[in-house]
Symmetry: C2
Subunit: 282 residues, 2 copies
């Protein structure tokens, strides 16, 4: 089932890549996993799921985030799936643009042709992938979730809807209000159609309008992010969140942009945040 593609020792742990046949996505998928030193069947560790942004694969976070020193110290495994189904048989954007199709799954379950046979990243991330990980690796079923940009949107919406399954949620530069920005509207029209009722279920701003924030949330946003105003719209999220909610933390960082340089500057703090909830007894 699982086929190992690569492995590298890092900070005393291991970064490994695998492929598997996904029954949810009807294609071969690759994912990466970091296992901290000491993880074993006798000493299983909790997992942080990381969802990447547009154009990324399972590799971007692993190579560029600089997360493993802290993850090794905290004893946290990290799993990074790809950002969409892939392969010749998987439909791609007919215009060949980066923000639809391959690399742009948007962590939802598509209902429209030709996308609906493969584009079910929501179900893949929430159901198939954790089951696979918990079957084959020395991990517990204790999970948190994080992501960047499109993946920040994924982490927030999944974390809000499944607050019993994830101990904590964090995001860098998330697409907070996809129903109100060009990236999100393009994806939602293609994958979900014009029925805006379907959009509400994949939009953090809409979800927070009707739900309390019961899971701890940490969001970091750079103020020099070129996508801030048109695509990310954190102010829309802040407007619907009770800002006094003790579980919700939003931080705005002068000078930082949308890149992995921003992520690597604060990923250590995100891991410490998640560790508090993944290891509450400590």
């Amino acid at each position: 089932m699982l086929e190992q593609v690569s492995q590298s020792k890092v900070f005393g742990g291991w970064q490994k890549q695998y492929t598997h046949t996904s029954s949810t996505l009807n294609c071969t998928m690759r994912f990466a996993i970091f296992l901290p030193p000491g993880a074993s069947q006798q000493n299983p560790v909790p997992v942080l799921y990381w969802l990447s942004g547009l154009t990324c694969t399972d590799e971007n976070f692993m190579q560029k985030a600089g997360a493993f020193k802290k993850a090794a110290e905290c004893g946290i495994a990290i799993v990074a799936p790809d950002t969409s189904p892939r392969g010749e048989q998987v439909p791609d954007d007919p215009q060949g643009q980066y923000d639809l199709g391959h690399g742009a799954g948007f962590y939802l379950d598509a209902v429209r042709l030709p996308w609906d046979q493969h584009y079910s990243m929501y179900s893949y991330v929430v159901k198939e992938l954790p089951k696979l990980i918990e079957t084959h690796f020395p991990v517990t079923s204790v999970r948190s979730i994080s992501g960047h940009s499109m993946g920040g949107h994924g982490a927030l919406t999944i974390g809000i809807k499944h607050s019993d399954d994830y101990r904590s949620v964090s995001a860098f530069s998330p697409i907070c209000h996809p129903g109100a920005c060009p990236w999100g509207q393009k994806a939602f029209r293609a994958y979900l159609g014009e029925n805006r009722g379907l959009w509400l279920d994949y939009d953090a701003v809409e979800l927070f309008k009707t739900r309390a924030c019961t899971v701890p949330v940490l969001i970091d946003q750079g103020e020099a992010d070129p996508f801030l105003e048109e695509q990310l719209k954190p102010e829309d999220l802040l407007a619907v969140i009770n800002k006094q909610h003790p579980n919700f933390h939003y931080r705005s960082h002068p000078g930082y942009d949308h890149s992995y340089y921003f992520i690597q500057s604060f990923i250590g703090q995100h891991l410490e945040f998640h560790a508090k909830y993944l290891y509450p007894e400590d």
Copy 2:
């Protein structure tokens, strides 16, 4: 002269890319620089030069090494040049392979046609680049040098020959004995010709045969490195070094490979090593 290509804030400092016209290489060159927080004309900082390996550009180390947290703490700037001259007018390997021509300058001054008009990475790294950096950025002329694989070869040979100009030298997985391995022999034949007397000046093993190790050296090598036996040959270097030399430190790490996952695991220790010599008064 200098044209800024990009900038990203990272760990309170800045990672920036520039292009300039190199009179040594007769082409436009790009380099990257990390400036730690607080670096200014009133508070100039020392510089670690980083030389990358085959196929790399100025970007690999900056994106993948995870070096900036420690460099920010230590107050060290990092400069990463490209690994060869570039451009349509710059000759490339006629066979189109990765280990000659573009991305494979080998940190030497070529003497043979068609390479001799552009391939002078040795002079570029030793003379033109530091002068440029020290003219345009808030740095001192206090320097150390490090690198990986082909860049480890560059750091060792340059550091040995210019021990007055560099306070310390380190290398990950260096090509220790290029005159005795396929990568080095191919490059030396092309760039320098069959006169092996010319080769000696760019070969760490040959240089150490006739020189004492007067500059502090730290070398890290992974034992699962697939290039270890055929290409890197650290045992040849250890055979000519007086192993009791207090300035020479060689460490062999079980399980680690040739990738940036190995580098990111130990780059913090390299920065601490260099900081001892870059800031000897502390």
